[in-house]
């Protein structure tokens, strides 16, 4: 009997996936947590920096999350609810910040708004960006595009009918917002809030560059692990940084009713009112400037002889980077990113198929393990991999970098495809079974084909992030497997901001090309 065979196959593949992810997600996590002992806890909790760092981390992450949400919500409304032109261009501009490492955002901000920054001198500003302001600004810079995409996605699937009804009943815009929009957004918004908050609180690139004396937990962990070799204290802080993700996790557990999307959705009419269009233009334009200026200045820095003393145009920084094997490292990055994109996408798709389309209790387990991955800060992941896998055949090869990147970035693409597959008509499997269409064919011709835009998005997400990550890989790369992004840390430490800019630019260009290719593919469809 077919369905029985299916069940057996389902069970086996679920068990295989669960065990693979257990080894690559849970085992390192447990290894890390097992390094926590009372001495380590005492050392961390009694150190003088601990309490201020916690406060700083919470404060910056909270404020940055709120600002990020306000900006990205406004932006999402501007783009998806008004009929403004240049949406394509704005779309491209607002993706840019996601294509370079956060550490580069820190540097860009520094060049524009630092004590000797371009704008600081131009406008004769007297305030310092170092500390709270800088961390919040930098964090918002790289976090808002992610939130923007998530919110746009929700708005896209929102039904207009309740609004229409409310309008007919004469309910005002404010009441419509609090009465319809907010309740509708509440659940997805909670997960977005946690995603953004986790992303900001675990990042160390921005606070490292622009935090000044204002130390955050992530920087403290960076210092403990990289600076003082205190793996144990690092593990304690790592465990603390896990908390927001764990909370999100528990919320997701209690948040069981996913509720099938109604399949008749009345789409929103895009506003054509001159006032809302003008406001939308102004908002998009200002935000574009805020995004483009620091990135542009930072990129331009790559062609300066010696910032800020000698700003003559030169390509010597490129030569210098190349003489330091930038070419080989770029190739390493490309190999890693292509492999991560292909394998990661395939793994995510199959896992999501098992969890979204063949639901059992085991699906829930697999689902939970996969979202757990989002909670592990890259640095912790890298360190725990070094502790768990040193001595294995995979160690010191490019394979471990591929695996660690897949695990590091698996959660978001998995959720993308999980949501996408969940939204596909629930009766399709039944149709396939009754019409004698084999399961592999159904997956290939129907599910994969229907979610192709999401699949492309996943692949480009994996690629782009593998190109620019510096946290997880820094403990695992060797001289022959090193990815190019790690050169940024090296240049930063060696006071070669110009070369750091060149490398960031190279990463940005590769990522833009990849994004463009995927855009072409999905558009042609």
């Amino acid at each position: 009997m077919h369905s029985i065979k299916h069940k057996g196959l389902d069970l086996a593949s679920k068990l295989i996936f669960i065990s693979i992810f257990a080894v690559f997600i849970l085992l390192p996590l447990i290894t890390m947590l097992s390094h926590i002992d009372s001495a380590g806890i005492k050392a961390v909790f009694s150190s003088a920096q601990f309490v201020p760092s916690v406060v700083h981390s919470l404060l910056t992450a909270l404020v940055a999350t709120v600002i990020t949400l306000i900006i990205s919500f406004t932006l999402a409304v501007c783009i998806s609810r008004t009929n403004i032109k240049l949406k394509g261009l704005f779309g491209i501009i607002f993706t840019l910040p996601m294509l370079i490492p956060s550490i580069s955002h820190g540097m860009g901000l520094l060049i524009v708004l630092g004590n000797n920054g371009i704008l600081t001198r131009l406008l004769n500003l007297n305030t310092s960006i170092y500390g709270f302001t800088g961390i919040v600004a930098g964090s918002v810079m790289y976090a808002f595009p992610v939130a923007f995409i998530m919110i746009s996605d929700i708005l896209k699937y929102q039904d207009y009918s309740p609004y229409e009804a409310a309008k007919i009943l004469g309910i005002g815009p404010l009441m419509r917002f609090t009465g319809i929009t907010l309740p509708y957004l509440r659940k997805p918004l909670i997960s977005i809030v946690f995603a953004v908050f986790t992303m900001i609180i675990t990042d160390y690139g921005v606070p490292l560059i622009i935090g000044g004396k204002y130390k955050t937990l992530s920087v403290l962990m960076y210092e403990e692990v990289i600076g003082r070799l205190e793996f144990k204290s690092g593990a304690v802080i790592g465990a603390l940084l896990l908390i927001p993700a764990v909370v999100a996790f528990l919320l997701d557990l209690t948040n069981k009713d996913k509720g099938n999307m109604t399949f008749v959705i009345k789409p929103f009419e895009q506003s054509n009112k001159p006032l809302s269009k003008t406001l939308a233009y102004i908002f998009c334009f200002i935000l574009s400037l805020a995004v483009v200026v620091p990135i542009f200045c930072f990129a331009a820095l790559g062609f300066a002889k010696r910032y800020p003393i000698d700003l003559t145009l030169t390509i010597k920084n490129i030569e210098k980077a190349l003489s330091m094997d930038a070419g080989t490292y770029l190739l390493n990055s490309l190999i890693i990113s292509v492999a991560v994109a292909l394998i990661g996408t395939a793994v995510c798709f199959l896992s999501a198929y098992l969890t979204a389309r063949a639901k059992t209790k085991l699906s829930r387990v697999l689902h939970l393990i996969l979202i757990t991955a989002a909670a592990i800060p890259g640095m912790v992941l890298g360190l725990s991999y070094a502790m768990s896998f040193s001595g294995s055949a995979m160690y010191n090869t490019i394979a471990i970098l591929i695996v660690v990147n897949i695990v590091h970035f698996v959660a978001s693409p998995y959720m993308m495809i999980y949501n996408s597959l969940s939204k596909i008509n629930e009766n399709l499997e039944d149709v396939g079974k009754t019409m004698g269409i084999g399961r592999v064919r159904m997956i290939k011709d129907v599910f994969l084909a229907q979610s192709m835009p999401t699949v492309c998005e996943m692949a480009s997400y994996f690629f782009v992030n593998s190109m620019m990550t510096i946290s997880a890989v820094s403990f695992l790369s060797t001289t022959s497997t090193k990815p190019i992004a790690l050169m940024i840390n090296q240049f930063e430490a060696n006071m070669q901001l110009e070369c750091a800019a060149i490398v960031s630019l190279a990463i940005l260009i590769v990522n833009i090309i990849i994004k463009a290719v995927f855009r072409l593919i999905t558009r042609r469809k």
Binding site: F263, N425, N427, V431, K433, T434, G436, V446, M452
Partner: protein, 252 residues
């Protein structure tokens, strides 16, 4: 009376110790239009899924043309199903939706295109053949789903509340069409609905279910004239009767 097409014997099914089907037995005649009527949760969808082979009964037997099909694969029962939510392949054009199941199998590959086109023409969908389902109205989409089922030549088609997502005008039109198609193809239809009006308008016989049990199975007239119990009676008050009269006239 026509031959017995399908014979259902003592089907039982429980979910987590809660009964979903309680010893249900009945026969379906060849070429007849049978509606299964009942409130939601009465077990009618469970029954449908067991009939087509998407679900296994705990006990009982299903005979088709005298042959035991209780444990036969869903695809080999010669039955088709039409869902409330159409369940079309959104990524394929209307034509591809209809011909897909034929094209992927060696023995039906040849002539698949012609067959699909013929069915589309019969259902008045030819002008839409290159459109994606998303570009069609609900009624048109449901007709594509029916075409996709018909192209495989099933001798029984099961309908799972196929019209509850459609507006009233479309319903009336599609109802009409459904009846014509059934006569033309001579297909046996088993039709699930919670809408009495629809059931009475379409069916040769109606089966009323409540709380996992079969309450009564008979012609619309008999059900109205002699309801088996108070529950069935409540279905058929004076008001409804008037409606049915007018609708039966409309359909014929």
């Amino acid at each position: 009376m026509a031959d017995i097409k399908l014979s259902i014997k003592n089907l039982c099914k429980t979910y987590d110790k809660l009964p979903a089907l309680n010893d249900v037995s009945f026969d379906v005649y060849d070429g007849e239009f049978l509606s299964i009527l009942g409130p939601s949760g009465c077990g009618k969808t469970t029954l449908l899924r067991i009939l087509i082979g998407l679900l296994h009964a705990d006990s009982g037997q299903i005979l088709k043309d005298g042959e035991d099909i209780t444990n036969i694969d869903a695809a080999k029962r010669g039955m088709g199903i039409v869902f409330q939510n159409y369940a079309l392949f959104e990524n394929m054009s209307v034509l591809k939706n209809v011909e897909y199941a034929l094209k992927i199998k060696k023995d039906t590959k040849d002539g698949a295109r012609e067959k699909a086109l013929a069915i589309l023409e019969r259902l008045g969908l030819l002008e839409h053949k290159d459109k994606k389902p998303g570009e069609l109205s609900g009624g048109q989409q449901q007709r594509v789903a029916i075409a996709r089922t018909l192209v495989l030549n099933p001798d029984i088609i099961l309908f799972d509340e196929p019209m509850s997502a459609l507006d009233v005008a479309t319903r009336l039109m599609l109802r009409d069409e459904l009846k014509k198609i059934q006569k033309e193809f001579g297909t046996t239809c088993i039709y699930i609905t919670h809408d009495q009006e629809e059931a009475f308008a379409l069916s040769d016989r109606i089966m009323v279910m409540d709380k996992s049990c079969l309450i009564q199975i008979d012609t619309p007239e008999n059900i109205i004239d002699s309801p088996a119990n108070d529950y069935v009676k409540s279905f058929v008050n004076e008001n409804l009767r008037k409606k049915i009269d007018s609708l039966i006239k409309y359909v014929r």
